[in-house]
């Protein structure tokens, strides 16, 4: 009996309440993907409505229960879906799912630590995330439906159930869920920062860290600095909603009644929200950039070009991201001078971003590129980062924003630059580190197929949205059919929706590959990609502590690929030199010859 009991306990602590960063990483990954899949299905559902407004769909009936009538969703439920889609994608998939998975997996492994600074806090971080996910999903089923004020939940809409049914119980749960989410994210970030600063193995100086780690570090710093502000914003909203304060509300007449609130300002909320909201964009993006830096270098068998410039530009992006939030508020009646300042700071971000792109290109130049699915997705990221980034110059310029603000142009822009780039980075990471996560390899052919479907459909979905924007089509519209001026848009909308459906189906290839490979895939060797960084020196099987015996010492930066001597031969006979190889005589570190 006692052994049986022991097993149950073992199981509980190994798989459920694990404090091992590798297990927690998998938990984040799987929960994040499940949430992401739900967010994806939501987008398909509302794309059906946008592509074929008012038409009846069996699938809608099947999936949406009381949220539809005769297979057509209602306008308020449309907004509920859009809101949940945005929330889930931004926070649950791309913040927790992306950063949670890879920070957890890679920080200890790449810096040479046995685990995170605090395994316990780390476990709490996951479970808070889990609980907040569950609450967010439950909110779909409460009276009045889920939150419906957009993922930005601007009051008064989000504060008044009279304004939209979703601002009742659904919004309450949204706020509860997000508060728990914020705690989870803070616990995670805390751990990441402390681990990186304090638990690096011997020889692992800050300038020998892989760029992934730099990206995770800066992401965590952004998180610690910005999420608490969102918490304060949410808290004030909770008070306004439930306790009759007037932080955000004033002079409101709704449903034939004047409300008692006076003296507050919704603009205050917008300031607080976007003080998080903009850094959040980079919280989503930086890990993806870090991951691709690592993969592009490894797979083109070349050192990353401009290691220091890459760090510098990530720092610049991180810093600037705190002083640009006003670009979401150009048209709120803010002082035009303030608008000018925000235009200036916003456009400045283009410089470090451009540096990153050029550095990626130069890394590929004269490389010897091995095209795994991870490489493909990394190249995809560079592409989307460019395509989405350039339109930022339009939106960031306040004068131009006047006419494209809140139109489909914005939807196109941010899905490409943030949604796609981050998703591509995440896929790349999963393909690349799958052997570390599950000890098995994913199937390349299916991976390639997945990539091609995804990138073609992604452009098919989001590129045309810019043209909707040129025509002035606003976002968050249930249908465009109420305006004769948008009648011709129906073709574009149908086009987009078809690609969206195919994109969704194509993700099934990935899920199949993922599940199959995790269970049945070929066993992974220790270092399948012939990479330099430390995680590839750990045994394939997982155990708490990562290395048997001593943690290896590090002697060089992680990007010594294809380093040759004066005769043009590889220095150690191979085109890669792991970080654990001591520097030879006359050999310089950090990419110097």
């Amino acid at each position: 009996m006692s052994t049986h009991h022991h097993h149950a306990k073992d199981f509980l602590f190994t798989y459920v309440f694990s404090t091992d960063h590798k297990m927690i990483s998998k938990q984040f990954l799987i929960t994040g993907f499940l949430m992401g899949f739900i967010g994806l299905i939501m987008s398909t559902l509302f794309r059906l409505q946008l592509g074929w407004p008012g038409e009846s769909f069996q699938m809608v009936e099947l999936l949406m229960g009381s949220w539809q009538e005769n297979g057509v969703m209602s306008p308020d439920k449309y907004l509920a879906l859009v809101t949940m889609h945005g929330t889930i994608m931004v926070f649950f998939l791309l913040t927790a799912g992306l950063s949670g998975t890879f920070s957890n997996l890679l920080i200890p492994l790449q810096i040479g630590a046995r685990d995170m600074a605090s395994g316990f806090l780390n476990m709490l971080s996951y479970w808070f995330f889990f609980v907040s996910s569950v609450i967010m999903l439950i909110s779909l089923f409460v009276e009045g439906g889920s939150a419906s004020a957009g993922w930005t939940i601007y009051p008064p809409l989000s504060a008044l159930p009279q304004a939209i049914p979703g601002s009742g119980a659904g919004m309450t749960l949204w706020l509860v869920s997000m508060s728990i989410f914020i705690v989870s994210s803070l616990l995670g970030s805390l751990n990441y920062i402390v681990t990186i600063f304090n638990l690096r193995t011997k020889g692992m100086s800050m300038t020998r860290l892989p760029l992934t780690i730099w990206a995770f570090l800066l992401t965590a710093v952004l998180g610690v600095l910005s999420f608490p502000v969102l918490l304060s914003a949410a808290l004030l909203l909770v008070f306004d909603r439930s306790f009759g304060t007037s932080f955000y509300l004033s002079d409101i007449y709704i449903g034939g009644q004047v409300l008692e609130h006076s003296g507050g300002s919704p603009i205050l909320f917008e300031h607080l929200f976007w003080f998080l909201g903009h850094p959040e964009v980079y919280i989503v993006l930086l890990p993806a950039l870090g991951i691709t830096s690592e993969i592009i270098s490894t797979m083109s068998r070349k050192p990353i070009f401009g290691y220091r410039a890459m760090i510098g530009s990530m720092m610049a992006i991180g810093f600037l991201s705190f002083i640009v939030w006003g670009h979401h508020m150009f048209l709120t009646g803010m002082n035009p001078f303030l608008g000018s300042v925000f235009t200036f700071t916003t456009l400045l971000i283009a410089i470090p971003s451009a540096v990153k792109v050029f550095n990626y290109l130069t890394t590929l130049w004269k490389g010897n590129i091995v095209f795994t699915p991870a490489t493909l997705f990394s190249v995809g990221l560079v592409s989307t980062f460019i395509s989405g980034g350039v339109t930022g110059l339009v939106l960031g310029n306040s004068a131009l924003d006047i006419n494209v603000h809140d139109t489909y142009f914005v939807i196109g822009h941010f899905h490409i630059v943030m949604g796609l780039s981050a998703i591509f980075g995440m896929f790349a990471g999963v393909y690349h580190w799958f052997p570390k996560l599950f000890g098995r390899m994913m199937n390349n052919k299916l991976g390639n197929l997945h990539f091609w479907f995804t990138i073609v459909c992604a452009y098919g979905v989001f590129f045309p949205m810019h043209f909707l924007g040129f025509a002035g089509v606003p976002r968050r519209y249930y249908t465009n059919s109420e305006f004769p001026m948008f009648d011709e848009m129906i073709n574009i909308n149908e086009f987009i929706s078809i690609f969206a459906i195919v994109a969704m189906i194509a993700q099934l290839i990935f899920f199949f590959n993922f599940v199959y490979s995790a269970l049945r895939g070929p066993k992974a060797p220790m270092n399948p990609w012939k990479a330099n960084s430390l995680e590839w020196t750990t045994p394939v099987e997982h155990f708490h502590g990562n290395w048997y015996g001593e943690i290896p010492t590090v002697y060089r930066w992680p990007y010594d690929y294809s380093k040759v001597d004066s005769n043009g031969d590889y220095i150690y006979g191979e085109d890669f030199i792991p970080q654990t190889t001591p520097l030879g005589e006359n050999e310089k570190d950090g990419g110097e010859h």
């Binding site: 610690v224 507050g264 603009i267």
Partner: protein
């Protein structure tokens, strides 16, 4: 649990020693951002019109002295442990705890004073300014209650003579947080004084 390999026991101890202090410091940074967000919210709201003149309760001034005193006594406790004077340490930690509780009491007195003078936290008669006043002080107390719990833990451990010159991490973490709460209060106090003309 599973093998942490040869260094097992030392590893955990060392880990704790190395990481507890940075953890609390970064935690503090996030709390600073939290209150930073709220106090800048006050500034942004104030930008619209003039702020109401709210009379600051005298109890809040007393709170300020109390929290400074509590920090001093806690600090004295730490020094005593370092010197090996455990009875003095116990005493000063108990005093700190009492000061902490007194702080909460004076805060409560402050709120009662505000309430009696017609400044409400919420509802029809509340103003944004009065709501902010309650909210900021209230949230500080919420954080302080966390500090009181950690003080309790420190007290129990001191009672059991768990601390020594080599093993002070827990106490140092607690004291860092406690000093921070003091500093935070002083900031809030000055901020409110300054804002509320």
């Amino acid at each position: 649990m599973s093998t942490l390999t040869a260094e097992n026991i030392n590893y955990k101890e060392e880990l704790k020693r190395k990481t507890s202090k940075p953890l609390i410091w970064i935690g503090i940074v996030s709390i600073i951002m939290f209150f930073g967000g709220l106090t800048s919210a006050v500034i942004v709201s104030q930008g619209g019109g003039g702020f109401l003149a709210i009379e600051m309760p005298f109890a809040f001034t007393i709170s300020t002295f109390i929290i400074v005193a509590s920090s001093l006594s806690f600090h004295f406790g730490l020094i005593s442990v370092k010197k090996g004077n455990y009875s003095a340490a116990k005493l000063s930690i108990i005093i700190t705890l009492i000061f902490g509780l007194l702080f909460v009491v004076t805060q409560y007195m402050g709120w009662t004073f505000l309430h009696d003078n017609g400044y409400y936290a919420a509802g029809k008669e509340s103003t944004q300014e009065s709501s902010f006043l309650y909210l900021l002080t209230g949230l500080h107390v919420v954080h302080l209650i966390g500090g009181l719990f950690s003080l309790l833990v420190v007290l129990v451990k001191t009672m059991k003579n768990k601390y020594s010159l080599e093993n002070l991490t827990g106490m140092q973490v607690s004291i860092t947080y406690w000093h921070f709460l003091g500093a935070l209060w002083i900031y809030l106090f000055l901020f409110l004084r300054f804002i509320i003309a």
